[in-house]
Symmetry: C2
Subunit: 307 residues, 2 copies
């Protein structure tokens, strides 16, 4: 198996809980405080999991401000993706003013985007902000697929510090080869982080420096354990813990991670019922019951005390 | 060949031209005036062609107001699609206040939507507005695919007056069969309109009552001729005219209709260079030259005098 990276960091993606379709500020603060206390290395609000795409400018600025205040010493990054470049620029300005320490930018699309459109988007945003920018490759929601060559083109822009890639091959050697291929295409100072929680442990072991994690935003403890195990040179422990969470990864694959984490947060009382922005209704009763059962079993099986 | 419908209407979708990434009000007014003068039956602003997805609330309200004033007696419909139901409701309220005579609503998505999400979206919007609502099925941009059963479920809502379907089969009998199948699934008062300009003539001949037309928003004359030919019982003339425009349909298929019509409008001086919202750069120089050549040939070959 490939050797573990020197540093493996956990960047947690919390939900932005709503109540009656409005920002539930108290719930957001509690969620962010809980992540900071659990020992995540960074927090990214307003990613896909944070429903950034659904919130207006004022709501987004408020989310960043609340999260920065609640996170204490833990750095908060803010998603600033938008269909229009001008809006991403406005969100970036607001995020900086609210104390964000980094930006997450995806090529969100309505009309399909070309490589040139995307390269200019990143050039425009990085030129306008002093904050480091994470390039967010999430073809499932953006419908844009980065080539490795475009990774290189965008990563060469001043201000780009990391790529958030959408998973790695299941085979450990193939995963390490894929991460190495990306690293060859991008400047050495640019990090490569894995997303797709089922691939978190495998991605870190394959040489990704960061796990951009959905589950860490709602159930941070197992994600912290996985990340620490890799960091401390215990990859087998990381894989065992990830395997223990397989029923969650299965639910993510079936329903999408957002609907599952929203149901989990509602089940645990971290968010009010119906915490997603309409038109997203969330899971139906049977699927919710299944999520609750899986979450309870995962937490009951925890090595540490349930918080 | 199936018999022509008693009434065939042309609903034209104009661009929303920008200049330096801001609304070009004068150009929008000229475009809308030109459509009204050309004899289109209705005008829909802020559809996909009108870049509705990229504009903020104030811009959208302004576009509707300007178009209503410029269109004279021609009714103006307004696209009110949004990722979030609350925003679609706000856009609908603004459109009504600005004098729109109908709304166009697509299930725009970031997270994939379920049938229940979409049905509730339409229920929420139709319940909140007195304006008639056109259900906009555009899987290429929304990534949501309606089943015929969901057409029926949504069309049964009070306030829904028409479905905008994304094309018909190429074979005339298959096209007529598909339109008949949809008509069977929806209440008789709900219209069925075709989009996908290459299918405009075939769709009207197959029994669609309306052509929701991109090309009519930029080059209205040939689209008016096609629609009148069908209305007057001359389906062969409609197909001949549509065939004459085949080089345009080919460009639409290769680049998407938005980038092609934007390049056409810029070539004809109807819009300033770079009229699309960033990050959409529009076509490159070689493709623009090809569009200009096709547009000039189409207009040179017009039976009527070029306006």
């Amino acid at each position: 198996m490939p050797s573990a990276p020197a540093r493996a960091a956990l960047n947690a993606f919390p939900l932005t809980p709503l109540r009656d379709d409005r920002l539930d500020e108290a719930a957001l603060v509690r969620i962010v405080e809980r992540l900071a206390a659990a020992g995540v290395d960074a927090i990214t609000v307003l990613g896909s999991t944070g429903s950034g795409a659904y919130l207006d400018r004022a709501e987004r600025a408020r989310v960043v401000r609340l999260a920065v205040d609640a996170a204490g010493d833990v750095p908060v990054h803010a998603g600033v993706s938008a269909l229009r470049t001008a809006h991403a620029l406005a969100f970036a300005e607001d995020a900086a003013a609210a104390g964000a320490r980094g930006l997450l930018l995806a090529p969100q699309s309505y009309q399909p985007l070309t490589d040139d459109d995307v390269a200019h988007l990143y050039a425009d945003v990085t030129a306008a902000t002093e904050l480091p920018v994470v390039v967010y490759d999430n073809p499932g929601t953006t419908r844009f697929t980065f080539s490795t060559a475009l990774y290189g083109r965008v990563a060469a822009l001043p201000g780009v510090v990391s790529l958030k890639i959408p998973g790695v091959p299941a085979d450990p050697w193939a995963a390490a080869e894929r991460v190495a291929e990306i690293r060859t295409a991008v400047p050495t100072h640019v990090g490569v982080g894995v997303s797709g929680d089922a691939f978190g442990a495998a991605g870190l072991i394959a040489g990704c420096d960061t796990w951009y994690s959905v589950i860490a935003g709602t159930l941070p403890e197992p994600a912290v354990r996985i990340t620490r195990a890799v960091r401390e040179g215990r990859p087998a422990d990381a894989l065992t813990e990830s395997e223990r969470l397989a029923p969650l990864w299965d639910l993510f694959a079936r329903h999408g991670s957002l609907r599952v984490t929203a149901a989990a947060a509602e089940h645990l009382g971290h968010a009010a019922p119906g915490c997603l922005p309409r038109p997203l209704l969330g899971l139906g009763p049977a699927d919710r019951a299944e999520v609750a059962g899986v979450v309870d079993r995962v937490l009951d099986g925890e090595p540490a005390t349930r918080p």
